[in-house]
Amino acid sequence: MSYTNFTLDIDADGIALITWDMPGRSMNVFTEEAMLELNAIVDKVAGDAAVKGAVITSGKDTFSGGADITLLQKMLTTFAADKAKDAGQATKALFDNAGKMTGLFRKLETCGKPFVSAINGTCMGGAFELSLACHGRVAADSDKVRMALPEVKIGIFPGAGGTQRVPRLTDQQQALQMLTSGQTLSPQKAKSMGLIHEIAEPRKLVETAKAMIRNGLKAVQPWDEKGFKLPGGPIYSVAGANLWPPAIAILRRETYGNYPAAAAILKCVYEGLLVPFDTGLRIEQRYFTEIMQTREAAAMIRSLFVSLQELNKGARRPAGVPETKFKKIGILGAGFMGAGIAYVTAKAGIPVVLLDRDMESAAKGKAHSDSLVSDQVKKGRAKPEEKDKLLSLITPTADYADLAGCDLVVEAVFEDSAVKKAATEQAEAALKPSAIFASNTSTIPITALAKNSARAKNFIGIHFFSPVDKMMLVEIILGKKTGDKALATAIDFVRAIKKTPIVVNDTRGFYVNRCVLRYMSEAYKMLIEGVPAPMIENAAKAAGMPVGPLALTDETAIDLAQKIMKQTIRDLGDKAVDPKQIALINTLVDTHGRFGRKNGKGFYDYPQKPAKKKLWPGLKDLYPQLAPEKVDYEELKQRLLVTIALEAARVMEEGIVTDPREADVGSILAFGFAPFTGGVLSYIDGIGARKFVKIAKGLQKKYGAEFKAPKLLLDMVDKDETFYQRFDPYAKGEVKKAA
C-alpha cells in the first residue's frame, strides 16, 4: 500500500522508517487524511510480524507544525451549524472529534511494537504530542529543532494527550510551566526535562532512533507499567502542597482569569494525575471539548493564528506587482526610531544606509544596534558572527548621495513639517525615480507630507511603534496619491523584517494612536472623577490590557500628551479637548514637573531599581477620592475596552481601516488589546452589536459623548450584522465600503 503523506521503508533489521512528507505543503500538518494514513501505518507495523518497530521522521526541513489549525476552525464552524439543529448531538460529535488524535496516539503507543520519533526540526503541538506517544524520542542536535505545545497562545490547549504525558514524564512544576506558557524547548532543555531520550548529530538522527529499537526499546510507556510513579511525586504530597496552591495563584496573576484554556490545562493535569492514564485522557478530552466551544478559543484562533498568518503573508498586497528584493534601504534620521528601524532591517540581512545631519549622530544611531545585538549575544540568542554581520550591514553617513541605489527610504526625522520637507527633497535628489519614499511620521498626515515629494505616487507612510525591535506591528499609511507599487513595496519590506503590516488610510493619529489616546483619556476622566488610581490601573489589567493607561502615559511621556492636546486645540479648536483633562495634564507637567518615566516622575514614582515603581501618592490630593466600594469596578473595566472599541468602529466607519482582520490583529499587536477577545472588533462581535450599542448608550449617559456609538454600529444592529459579515475579508472582489 502506498500513502500520499508518508513513505514507509522497512530495513533489513525489520525496522520501519516512516517519513512524513506532505506534498504541496512547506510544513507537515495533521489533516484528516494524514491521520487516516498514520492509522493505517500503525496497523501495518502492529500486524506485520516481520516489522520489529518503527521510526517516525519528516522528509522536510521541519518535523511538523502539528494540527491543521484551519481544520480546527472548520470543526468549530461545523459544530456551530450542527448545534442549531441538535445541540446534544453536535456536542457529542465535537467530543468524538476531539478524541480522534488522542485515540490514534494511544493506539500507536499500545500496539505492541516500539515506535521512536526522530525529531529533525521544528516540532509543534500535535506533532510533539505524537512524539510523546512514541516509546523513544530522539532530537537532532540543531538550532532548527524547537519543540513546544503552544496551543494555549491561541486559546486552546494540547488535547491529544499532551496534558497527561508531559506531567508523567517530568515534574509537575516544569510541566505546568511548559503547558501554560507554550514555552519552546531546545533539545537540551527537553532532554533535561525527560521529554526526549537522546540528542543525536543531525546526520545520525534516524540511525540513533533505529539503534534504540535494535537495543530492545520496550513497547510499553512508563505509565502503562505496573507500579508507575509520577516523577514529581503524587499531587497530595508535601511537594504537591507546595506546588499547586501557588500554581493556581500564578495562573490568576498571569491571566486575570481571562483565559479559560490556561485554567483548563491546570485542571487536566490535576484531575488527570489522580487517576489512571486512560481516564486522564478522557478528562482531557472533556475539557478540550469545553474549551473548543469558548468564545475565547474561536476569537484567538481567528485573530492570532489565521488572520495573523494571512496578514504576515501579505493578504493586503496588491496583486500583479513583482516582489521587491531589497538591495539597500535608506533611513533618514538616526534618532531612537531611525536607529531601531536600522536594527530590524539589518537583522533581516538588508544593507542599510543610516543618515543623519552629521557623522557623529549617524554613528550614535548605529551604536544602538550594537547595544541591542550585543545584548542578544550575551543572552545566547545570537552568535558573535551574527552580530558582526548585522553591524557590517549598517553604514552610517551624513551624505545624501549615499542613498543612491536604495529601493526604499524610510524617513524618521524630527516631527516638524519643515525638517521633513528638506529631508524629502534632498533624498529624492539622490534617489532613482522608482524608489519608494516612506515617512515614519506618527502625527502628520501622509497626504500633506506627500506634497513635499516630486513623486507622490511613490510616497507612503510606514509607521513603526516604539521600541521598534520589540513591537511587531507596522502601520502602512496610504496618502491620497499613493500607488500600488508603493504599497506592495512597503508590505514587502515589513514582511522582510518579519513584522506584521496593516494598511491604513490617512487620518490624524492613523488607527493605533487614535485608539490608544481614547484609552488614556478615559483613565484621566476616571482620575478626575476621584477613582483611586490603583483601581484604574488594576481595572485595565483585569480587562486584559498589558499596561495600565497611566503607566502607558508615563512611558510615552506626559509632556507629550500635553503637546498632543495643545496641538489638537490649535488644529481643531478649544472644544476638541476636555478642559478638565488638559488641566490635569497641565497640573502634572507644569505644577509638579512630572513628565513621565523619562524624569522618574509621572503618574508613578520610579525609584532606583530593584525597587518597583509606585503610584505617586500626590494623585490622591488632586481630586476628592471616591470610596473604593462606591466604585463600580466591572464598569471601569468595561469603559476602558468599550472606549477603544468605539474608536475602532469609527475608524472602520470612516474607512481608515477597511479589513476587520487588520483592526483586530493591529489592536492586539500594537497595544495589547485584551487578546482573549480576538481584538477590538471581535470584542464587539463577541458581545453582539445590539448589546454593545446598549452598553455604549448606558456609558454615554453617565460618562459623555465619547461613548456615542457611530452610525455604522446602529446600522449593524438594524441588519443584525457582525464586522466580519459586513466587511467580509474573504468576499470576492473589493472590500465593501464602510457605512
Binding site: 499531587i235 502542597a241 499547586w244 495562573l251 486575570y256 490603583p534
Partner: protein
C-alpha cells in the same frame, strides 16, 4: 423549646506545637481523653447519660483520624453508649461543636452533650488532611485561594494597620496573658496533663513570651513576603481588592497565633438533665450563627457573623459585656475593633492565641471557657465568642450567665 446550658468547661494547657513541645509525646487522642476524663471526674458524671461527644478537629487524619472523640471515649473509659462525632469548620470547629451540641439539646434530641475539640499540631501537621480548596484549580480559581497570612496582611493594608499597630497589639496580648496566668485567672479551667504515674507533663501554656516588646518584635522579618511575591498570592489579593496597589506584609510569628497542641471540652445539657444529674448551670447559650465571607480577606468573617448574630438575637453591641475573638492574626482583632468601635478593654481581656497559641480544632471551645470564667470573675452577664475561619467564614456564639 429546650435551652442549652453550660455546666462545665475544661481545657488542657497548650504545648508548643513542635517536636520539642511538652505535649509532643502525648498522642492526639490522649489529649481528647484527658479532657473527657476531667469533665467526668469534676462533675461526677455518669457517662451513660452522655448522648453525644462532638469534637472539632481540623486535620482528622493519621492518628487523629477515624472519629477521634469516639476513640478518646474508649481511652477515657466512657460508657459505650456515649457516641462520638468529629466535625471541622477549620478554626471555629471547637465553637461549632458547642453550637451543634446546643442545637441538639434545644431541639430535644439530646439531653447531655460534651462538645469541644482537639488538635495535636506537633504530631499531625497543619494541612495534613489536604483538600480541594487550595489544591484543585476548579476550586482554587473561583475560590480565590490565598494563604491566611496573605489575608491577614491584606486586612492590615486595606484597613490601614501599620507594622507598629499589629506589633503593639501582640505586645499587649502577651502582657494580658502573663497577667492572667499570674493571677490564676485560668485555674478553674486548665487541667494538668499528667503521665500514667501521676507525674506532670505540662501544667501551663508554654508558648507565651511575656518579655515580648516592640523592640524584640521589630527584629522579626514579615513571614509572607515570599509566598506573596513568588507564590503569586499578592497578585490574587490585589486582583480581588483593586484599590490596594500592593500588599503591605506586617505579620510574623510574633503577632500571629502560635502553633500549639491542646484539647478542650464543654459539658452542655438541658435544664432538666442538669437537675437530674445534680449539676449547677453556669450559663446558657443564647444564640449562635455562621456566615460565609469574602474569601481573600478571609478573616473578616467575625465582623459579618457578629452583625448577623446580633440582628437575629435582637441584641445590640452594647448588650455584650465581653468579646472574645480568636487572635489568629493581630489585624483580625484590630479590624473587628475598628468595625464595631470596641475598646480594647472589652475584648480579649486575658490575651489570646498570639500569646498562648491556637490549637485549631480546640480553640473555639478553649476561648469559650476562658470568657465564661472571666464573666464570672468580673460578675458580668453576657459575652460574645467568635473566630475567623479559613476559606472565609465566621462563627459566633452569645452566652449569658444564669
Amino acid at each position: 423549646m429546650a435551652e442549652a446550658y453550660v455546666y462545665d468547661a475544661v481545657r488542657t494547657p497548650r504545648g508548643r506545637g513542635k517536636k520539642d513541645g511538652s505535649l509532643h509525646e502525648v498522642p492526639a487522642v490522649r489529649l481528647g481523653a484527658k479532657v473527657l476524663e476531667a469533665i467526668r471526674d469534676r462533675n461526677e458524671l455518669d457517662t451513660g447519660a452522655v448522648d453525644d461527644i462532638i469534637f472539632g478537629c481540623v486535620d482528622p487524619v493519621g492518628e487523629a483520624g477515624s472519629v477521634i472523640p469516639r476513640a478518646a471515649a474508649f481511652e477515657a473509659g466512657y460508657a459505650t453508649s456515649a457516641p462520638g462525632m468529629q466535625i471541622s469548620r477549620f478554626c471555629a470547629s471547637g465553637l461549632d461543636a458547642i453550637n451543634f451540641g446546643a442545637a441538639k439539646i434545644a431541639q430535644g434530641a439530646d439531653e447531655i452533650v460534651i462538645a469541644g475539640g482537639v488538635e495535636s499540631m506537633s504530631r499531625v501537621g497543619m494541612g495534613a488532611s489536604g483538600g480541594a480548596w487550595f489544591m484543585d484549580p476548579s476550586v482554587g480559581l473561583p475560590g480565590w485561594f490565598v494563604p491566611q497570612g496573605i489575608s491577614a496582611d491584606l486586612i492590615a493594608t486595606k484597613y490601614g494597620f501599620s507594622r507598629d499597630d499589629v506589633d503593639a497589639y501582640a505586645v499587649e496580648s502577651q502582657k494580658r496573658a502573663a497577667k492572667a496566668w499570674g493571677e490564676g485567672r485560668f485555674k478553674n479551667s486548665v487541667i494538668s496533663i499528667k503521665d500514667q504515674n501521676g507525674l506532670t507533663i505540662l501544667d501551663h501554656d508554654e508558648h507565651m513570651r511575656p518579655s515580648t516588646d516592640m523592640q524584640s518584635l521589630a527584629a522579626l522579618n514579615p513571614s509572607f513576603v515570599m509566598p506573596g511575591e513568588m507564590g503569586g498570592f499578592d497578585a490574587v489579593a490585589v486582583q480581588k481588592h483593586p484599590e490596594v496597589e500592593e500588599v503591605n506584609h506586617v505579620h510574623h510569628a510574633g503577632n500571629s497565633s502560635g502553633i500549639v497542641d491542646g484539647a478542650a471540652a464543654v459539658l452542655l445539657g438541658s435544664k432538666k438533665a442538669g437537675k437530674t444529674l445534680g449539676l449547677k448551670p453556669r450559663a446558657r447559650i443564647r444564640a449562635f450563627a455562621n456566615i460565609g465571607s469574602e474569601p481573600v480577606l478571609m478573616l473578616t468573617g467575625p465582623v459579618d457573623v457578629t452583625e448577623k448574630l446580633l440582628k437575629r438575637a435582637r441584641m445590640k453591641l452594647s448588650d455584650i459585656d465581653l468579646f472574645e475573638l480568636n487572635e489568629a492574626f493581630a489585624s483580625v482583632v484590630l479590624r473587628y475593633m475598628q468595625a464595631f468601635d470596641i475598646p480594647h478593654d472589652r475584648i480579649n481581656v486575658n490575651g489570646g492565641a498570639i500569646a498562648m497559641g491556637h490549637p485549631l480544632g480546640a480553640t473555639g471551645a478553649m476561648i469559650f471557657g476562658t470568657v465564661l470564667d472571666e464573666l464570672e470573675r468580673r460578675d458580668l452577664n453576657t459575652a460574645l465568642v467568635t473566630l475567623c475561619i479559613g476559606a472565609g467564614m465566621g462563627t459566633a456564639t452569645i452566652i449569658e450567665r444564669v
